[in-house]
Point group: C2
Chain length 498, copies 2
């Protein structure tokens, strides 16, 4: 068992920052107990008080942004502009959940009045926090899907203490963000157990197995996510596991769009494919083009003008190179373009291949696998309807995108009959990368995109994962939570119905 | 492998009605394919059209009620008054979901407008049906939790074709109800695959494993439910399994209530314990009384005046007798009362035992197990606060009930700090049996009460289990579903927000 976690600079492959001790089983036990003890305190705060704490954490992260970005850039090589933007996304997300709490519709309050004619009692239902939850940080978003990311923000908003498992790729960033959160909790006079950070691989399964952990949020690989999902489902008392796993993110370009917007689509694809060195769960791994179009040439040019760069970890580099070698060796795949190679131990190079739809369909089991990094397949089709069985067979994905001209609505509608069942977000004339944090966002999808297609990890409704309903029947008026009291003292949205 | 399913009259233990062939693997495959093919048709209907079909099924079941009750009474011995009421509950439930569909808030529509300043697109989210679903009928509600019960009604409302696995205890009732549903679907010109009935044990796991089945609803035993849950979670593509399993339903009587309402509480308890020969998932299996009260004597009298009766199946009788023998042999349990024995092969007798809280706590692992039937434990406590760790250790349960006098609000609040985390429904001065079908109802709870504490199997929000979100980004106005179109043509509730 490793006893320390060391960050590395992806630009050099050399250690950066201090080595962090892995969390011992005893320390993990203490952290979970502290979370359990903190649960009544944190969940017992009025929602508006929790909102104030989320806002304070956001302000503190913004104030520390320059230092945080320095630490994160050293560990991730994602670059200051992107990381600065990601801190802003993260704090914007915390503030969005603060707004959700002040608005109050996250509790899903429903009131059914008593009915003397049937003998039915007075029933009032709302959602309450589930208890301490475990959150697994993602490699590719050291801020927005990590320690203070969407899972943490939504779970804290719900009233759940959070135990974050840091990602091995950015231990110093994780520790720095955790210190900011813990500092604000302490300033607010709250118990430290409301938020804890654990480090080291073994802490992950230990959290998922722990009887006091009541739900899990995860963003990562299909293999890792599946293993933890199986642990959660295999417990004596199974708990919900909200995992975002692999996604291939098909993009279809319809014939008129390919003709009318060739340069725009080619440039947009190359940018979406290579942004963040392709390390996005919404990376467009599959592009479907009409076979008799000039778009493939334009795309080859555009991707040829991109450059590679370092990926986050040596493991991601190895996986990428391994997958590229497999694709190079796959019969029928023709290399279409490469970006410029980049210097450095952990650098990878953008790559795309081309093949006709029939060949893709034949090897679909192999080719539908996500390749994490700036690699993509360009699949050429003859008839739009030929795409339907292939899109269906791809399985679940976070996004499905269509580029269309105004005259191609019938084709869009046809493709949507499949995509709306297989993808969580349908994008028209846009690219899947870039997931807006907003009330209507859904960032999810059927397996293997996520372990729970019902839920999202981005957007206001992400808070829903950490809540469970309780119905109060004929409960004394003065003992009802304020959310359910007569006269609606909090002024939250409530349904009253049959 | 058994090739037929035979109903039995619980009053005599003799066969009643015809033997039904078990569904062969080939026939099951056909039924699932028909469901898959029917999915686009059924889910493509406007919600208000699906509502009309649910209403038509309700009307047809009401029209057939007398015959259905005859068949069910022969197979279940639950008696005509109860069964007649249960048909009404079932048709009321179908009509409630029709109202839900017409109201339209089940789709959870949320609109976030585009924001040019941040480059965010126009995002519109709604819930769409998940696909064909499997539903497992319960033994104890041959109508309301069976073929046309809440799972079927809510899944059909959602737009999902339904494959019902009939309960072995009432094959003829199941077939008769299925014929009514299929008849109405046919009359409405809908494909037969919208609804299918399968019979026989082996059809259950086959449905849960089938790739085209996208979710499962189940009401039954902890053991059976766990086995099917494990199958669903162990699939290559895990699917949600919404199971309602075992529940002990603790009831606490506070000291002043025990003193002030002795006779009322004693009578209420005896009635709740023995109603339907105790075959309710909300049966009050555990009653906590103050140790220095006369209530135990009153309860002994009240239960002594009850009578036994036949249970639904020979297996339930065997389990009940086995559990009663175990409890009789448990040191520290003192028999407190028995009801009158009833005649008949499958008859069981109401039984209660008494023990002090400390003894109960010592044997909690054994004694917290649900006993399906009219048996209960009466546990005497000294201090209300002594109950907290015991209620906590009981684990998840569908309900938690408290009898209190107006001066005992502090004690109610104290108990609720635990019960609101362990129980899905908190009942004040009432009994857990009798679950109103209404908008605010929550019939669920943490494991082992259910496999998914987030969801309910009774009430308007039960439809939520069969839906998954999709976000449309910059989608052409004329291609949006009407639920999301500008101007809100369906007039449904929608959120518009950040």
């Amino acid at each position: 068992m490793t006893t320390t976690i060391q960050g590395y600079d992806p630009r050099t492959g050399s250690p950066t920052g201090p080595a962090f001790p892995t969390t011992t089983p005893e320390a993990l036990e203490q952290a979970v107990h502290a979370a359990r003890d903190a649960f009544p305190v944190w969940s017992g705060l009025p929602a508006r008080r929790r909102a104030d704490v989320l806002d304070a954490v956001a302000d503190a992260l913004d104030a520390a942004a320059t230092d945080l970005v320095d630490v994160a850039d050293a560990e991730t090589a994602l670059g200051r502009p992107r990381l600065t933007g990601e801190v802003a996304r993260t704090t914007g997300q915390l503030r969005m959940f603060a707004r959700v709490l002040r608005q109050g519709d996250h509790v899903g309050a429903i009131l059914t009045p008593a009915d003397a004619s049937t003998g039915r009692g007075d029933i009032r239902r709302m959602l309450l926090p589930v208890g301490p939850v475990a959150v697994f940080s993602a490699s590719n978003f050291p801020f927005a899907f990590s320690v203070a990311g969407g899972d943490t923000a939504s779970a804290l908003a719900a009233g759940c203490p959070v135990l974050v498992k840091a990602h091995e790729g950015h231990p110093a960033t994780s520790a720095a963000v955790a210190a900011v959160i813990s500092g604000e909790l302490s300033r607010a006079g709250l118990p430290a157990g409301v938020f804890s950070l654990v480090q080291g691989f073994d802490a992950g399964p230990a959290l998922v197995r722990h009887p006091s952990v009541r739900a899990v949020g995860f963003t990562g690989s299909l293999r890792g996510g599946r293993a933890l999902f199986d642990l959660a489902a295999g417990r004596e008392d199974p708990i919900p596991f909200y995992g975002e796993l692999g996604s291939i993110n098909p993009v279809v370009v319809l014939p008129a769009a390919a003709r009318d917007r060739t340069a725009e689509i080619a440039g947009g694809y190359a940018a979406s494919l290579t942004q963040g060195t392709g390390q996005f769960c919404t990376n467009p791994g599959l592009l479907f083009l009409p076979e008799d179009s000039d778009l493939a040439t334009a795309i080859a040019d555009a991707v040829g003008r991109t450059s590679g760069g370092p990926v986050l970890t040596g493991r991601i580099r190895d996986s990428y190179r391994h997958r590229v070698a497999e694709l190079d060796a796959t019969p029928g795949l023709v290399p279409l373009a490469s970006g410029a190679a980049a210097q450095g131990e952990w650098a990878v190079t953008p790559r795309i291949w081309q093949l006709p739809l029939a060949s893709f369909a034949e090897r679909l089991e192999d080719l539908r696998e996500e390749c994490f990094g700036p690699a993509g397949l360009v699949v050429t089709y003859r008839e739009v309807r030929d795409l339907l069985p292939v899109l269906e067979a791809l399985g679940g994905t976070l996004t499905g995108s269509i580029h269309a001209s105004p005259g191609e609505h019938a084709e869009v509608a046809l493709l949507a009959t499949v995509l709306r069942r297989t993808a969580g977000r349908l994008v028209h004339n846009g690219w899947p990368t870039g997931v807006a944090v907003c009330a209507a966002m859904h960032h999810g999808g059927p397996w293997p995109a996520t372990t729970s297609a019902r839920h999202t990890s981005v957007g206001a409704t992400a808070v829903d994962r950490w809540l469970t309903p309780v119905a109060y029947e004929n409960w004394p008026a003065e003992l009802l939570p304020p959310e359910l009291q007569d006269g609606n003292p909090l002024g939250i949205p409530r349904l009253t119905g049959f």
